[in-house]
Assembly symmetry: D2
């Protein structure tokens, strides 16, 4: 059995999914196969599950002693925090960056470039390092990932790994603010799942990535960049609020309930 | 300044929140304080933010050289995968367990006790270990945590850490199936946030934990056990489907779209 | 620039080292290259450092804007606990296994198969999971790795990652004890470093892997299996002592000082 | 049974060891107790093992259903990379810092402050974050920890966790270089183990921490600061070599063998 045979088995179960790689991890007598697949504009879990089963059946036909313990062995890793997604990616891997002029940092974000860079260093890099994170070197990526996922019909349970993000800030030579978000494991699709529900479908339409793309996979990739760009905006906003120490006021002001009546006071 | 002073400062900002502990982590010149608080039936983020600011201001009054870099330094750790939540807890820490008679495993789960125990060992313990997880020793806790969070008005962005779970299975001396889920960081509340929205409020009512409890905190604690118990049911279900190798059929059958028309094929 | 060019650059600096792979990780504007190399019977750090510098200089010639921040960017990862070594390997990746007859477990290890399996499950799998380990699912691999490293002229500072190990135990169908140790990142060499010191050289001679192998790399591979096999023996020994609860007696008996005079009592 | 009873049990087994804390972690039916102890100038493993056994026996006398699975359940965590040591400490927790004048950075380290700070950021913070480390935010702490451990009769197998270190660099307001190393889990002793061997004893003498301290624990604490200070010096040295890109030359120059004859070329 070689990769071509496994690829053929996988692709016999789907009209456009492709098997791109198959990476084994051995632990004692166990072998965990991690498949890398192209799933077009679909997030692809069902497609991949079906194709994986065909791969296993092909292997079993060749190696009758092989016993399938579980179709998912947690090396995927789906919906769990795991280094494998952080290091090797899952879904789409996206890096976004932007430069915010110093004047905008002052006027809109109510702080300054140096404070933003410092806050990011001491919170998102050093603080997260002290907390023992794998992939959580950000301020609140999960808030934005979850919001966009709910709005566009994604699986919000996958925000565990889709929120993996390292946020980096630097002062440019011109004194402006450079920011980037590196997100290796955003799991999104523009067809299937909840994407055809009315509200979610309308949101996908509004950001120009509803349904299958002209080139397969194009819309899903665009949606992943939307998730990352929105996350970067959220990072800017929270880092600014922390740098300017206005977080508590902001929360009181935008609370669902009026501060005076806040049930949580 | 001692703990009593900090406690007084914290509690001056809230009518029923309590500061219970304050744990410092040092990194170079930085000190990260992690506060343990009682927040009654509220999830408590706003309450804790306000109280924390008062704690910092009290410290600054005493130590004028102290500089606040950020009100949240990521040792919390909110909405990021981090060992600190796994090891020291956050929100509610819950352990649930159950014994499922062998006959039920056969008739309802369509598999047997030994297969269930084996699948859990090779997937949730060994597989997750190989994947480099911290706190993700489960099959799909995130699915259930997210569902219950959405249904009851919780913050779904917090499922990153609320889904931390180790699932353990054993065969009992009588040949039945013992299962437990250990979840150290479930973040829930029954007042505040989205809990007063109509649908969510109705769900909380249905499971008997709407609003503040007779004893403060009682309803939120009950909701946390509901999250954990539902998660345990989900673990049983998925582990059985994997042990019986019926996952793909189940997904095809319960898909939103009819399999014949599945856009993701 | 493609891989062939980088390979040529790397191999121009060494008479027998080979560049086998080059895997980039992006974080914002940074690119971290992780090179996979063949270093024959040498552990290879110096060889790889020199070759890596040549790779970078080749890239800089092609991309003049590329700035080398550091020849080692910690994705290696050398002498630090990191998921990358656990997931992707470093040095030699070895799996060893053995079956110990139940009678030997009783007579020599003074315990029984079921107790051994249970102790391993609750200590090395569940206990380590609770402690938040990445790659530390073993009883005391580091003790044996360090001992063999010192005896054979290896770099004991590399035991941080060379000790990565998951130990698995099962009862066989015949009631015997199956044990395996999976160690993905053992860093050893039989030439260079401390291997030519007299005592160390004699030890390498004694286990049949002194100097370069008949086939390059053969002796270093053999040494890695010796490390893993010795580790497995150590795991058996400590797990048995814990299962039989004789650890304290054993330590008192084999202490450097007589128990009566123990300075640490 | 309360803490006073456990403390009494522990301290009945040792003439000067003290039980300071007992922290339980629950996983299903398992309870893992992590004991915090004072062990004077000894590293204390044997003392703690004996005391722990007494604690367990006391608990078993009170709760006859309690079954000891293993005296060490890996929550310690001894000789394994684990978040628990990084977050909660083990042995001695030390932070050292220094300011290096910019002129010395130029003349001795052959680089400049900004390059040093940049190299540390991109290698030790961002690079290590990308590699999925827990506690390995340093350049090569393990090299120095291992060297000092071997020289002073410590257990080199404990360098796995004793090397936990985050190295931080900043440019001061005066343009000088501030550096700190934060090391939460250095395991050392000045009595017992290999400390009484001739060479090791002489080394301890030379740095003024041989044998028991005037105040119990004082010498072991001093030795821990020596380990940390030496580590900081090593960090400065390697970061400078990387910043100035002289690592390869340095290794060729200080190799055991002359470069011309290097077996590893």
């Amino acid at each position: 059995v070689n990769f071509a045979t496994l690829k053929q088995a996988f692709e016999s179960t789907t009209s456009f999914g492709k098997l791109k790689n198959c990476n084994p991890t051995v632990a004692g007598k166990n072998v965990y196969l991690r498949l890398t697949c192209f799933s077009g504009d679909a997030m692809g879990m069902n497609m991949v599950s079906k194709g994986s089963l065909a791969v296993i059946e092909t292997l079993q036909a060749q190696f009758p002693m092989l016993k399938l313990v579980a179709l998912s062995g947690n090396m995927c890793t789906d919906k769990k925090a795991a280094a494998t997604n952080w290091l090797e990616g899952r879904g789409k891997s996206v890096v976004v960056e932007a430069v915010i002029p110093a004047a905008v940092v002052r006027s809109t974000l109510k702080t300054n470039v140096k404070s933003m860079v410092d806050t990011n260093l001491h919170k998102n890099l050093i603080g997260s390092a002290m907390a023992g994170t794998i992939g959580g070197f950000n301020a609140h990526a999960s808030n934005i990932v979850t919001a966009v996922f709910l709005a566009t019909g994604q699986d919000p349970a996958q925000n565990v790994e889709s929120s993996n993000c390292i946020t980096l800030l630097e002062e440019t030579d011109d004194g402006d603010l450079w920011i980037s978000c590196t997100m290796p494991s955003i799991e999104v699709g523009t067809v299937g799942g909840g994407t055809s529900l009315p509200a979610q479908s309308a949101c996908l339409q509004a950001i120009g990535c509803k349904g299958g793309g002209a080139t397969p996979g194009q819309n899903a990739q665009k949606l992943a960049t939307v998730v990352a760009a929105a996350t970067m905006a959220g990072e800017l906003s929270l880092l600014a609020a922390l740098a300017a120490n206005t977080l508590v006021q902001a929360h009181m002001q935008h609370n669902r309930k009026k501060p005076a009546a806040a049930a949580t006071k």
